[in-house]
Symmetry: C2
């Protein structure tokens, strides 16, 4: 039975990683669409969220099947539970990518609104955190996972600076308030993506070291 369990766990790992790759692709495509003001590309990202949602349901069903069929213990149990939680986070990340694409469509319809030069860097940081959190999972790498957690502060600082700038713009150009609030939401979504990557990284640490690290004082 253990051979079957490990075969099914390997399949589960592959599936959650392809879900992760879909989410990474959605984030990257949403930002690219915003930067190139490509409405069609943004709409493709919005539409692709359905596939991410379907994949999430599949992963959850697979986790439940494994739990019911093999009643795994110790590290196998921890792995399945961590995947269940990550799956949840990945689905929410897909929603955030779709939200970025929705705000992008609103912004590109208001050509007066300029995108801050720092936006691509902030987006790259958020994407890198997502990618590293998934790499940490594949390689069961708690060190990399801790680096992801550490990167979160930088992203939060970025967002605060961008938020200040958006406020100044709104005061100077109140007629652009709607598109500027959309831009502010995009910064918030990027920050949330960093938070979710941090959640996944914490799950990896838990998986490797068997302890719950979140809500710990730094």
């Amino acid at each position: 039975m253990s051979v079957h369990l490990h075969r099914d766990i390997e399949r589960l790992k592959k599936k959650v990683l392809s879900l992760g790759a879909m989410v990474e692709e959605a984030i990257s495509a949403a930002i690219a669409a915003l930067l190139s003001r490509d409405e069609k590309a943004a709409k493709r990202v919005i539409a692709s969220d359905r596939e991410i949602d379907q994949m999430e349901v599949e992963v959850e069903e697979d986790c439940l099947k494994i739990l019911a069929l093999y009643q795994p213990v110790a590290s196998d149990l921890r792995f399945v539970i961590a995947v269940l939680k990550m799956n949840n986070d990945l689905e929410r990340m897909g929603d955030l990518a779709a939200n970025i694409a929705k705000r992008a469509v609103e912004i590109m319809r208001q050509p007066g609104v300029e995108l801050p030069a720092e936006l691509p860097t902030m987006a790259r940081n958020a994407q890198a955190m997502v990618k590293s959190s998934l790499d940490a999972l594949v390689n069961m790498d708690a060190t990399l996972a801790r680096q992801v957690c550490a990167g979160d502060d930088e992203l939060d600082g970025f967002r605060k600076r961008m938020q200040r700038r958006v406020l100044d713009e709104i005061r100077a150009h109140p007629d652009d308030a709607e598109a500027l609030m959309g831009l502010s939401n995009i910064f918030r979504h990027l920050e949330r993506l960093g938070d979710m990557a941090t959640n996944i990284a914490e799950d990896v640490i838990y998986l490797v070291e068997g302890e719950i690290t979140r809500h710990r004082e730094n």
Copy 2:
């Protein structure tokens, strides 16, 4: 062993319900603090989020202990998995309550900003959804859970109307943009609370009927 399993499951149920009660109390206190412009009360809500976080870690540890110790199957397994997911949602709801309280502090420092007369109703709707989702869990009531899911559209509509009004206010009074964006965030948090209550209600339906209802077309 089954007697012990059911005793531990009953304990888990009580614990997740008291976590739910803490979250309900935090939401209600955050809104009350905003409406009465009571900064001290808002800060108490922000501080109390630590207790919610600690309780979440406890509930998760209890779930893992039950899974490892009894290797439950069928409805017991479904219950523990549903609690694991709800626990996650409840913790995020606690974060939203704390965020409402933080925005409330910013808003009350800017006395020029008026709160829309509809805010208490919208807050009551969101709280009622949270309460009903937890009641649905205690009573394993899929009908009540479906009502929670149905209430979500009304809350979304509310938020859209409030969002429009905030935008008009920003255009008319750009100097109040910061506090008004805080207000807009509070509406968003209330809408998110409704979304999370819907998540819990979907978990209850899954628990009662054994099927995954989310992402289903209406």
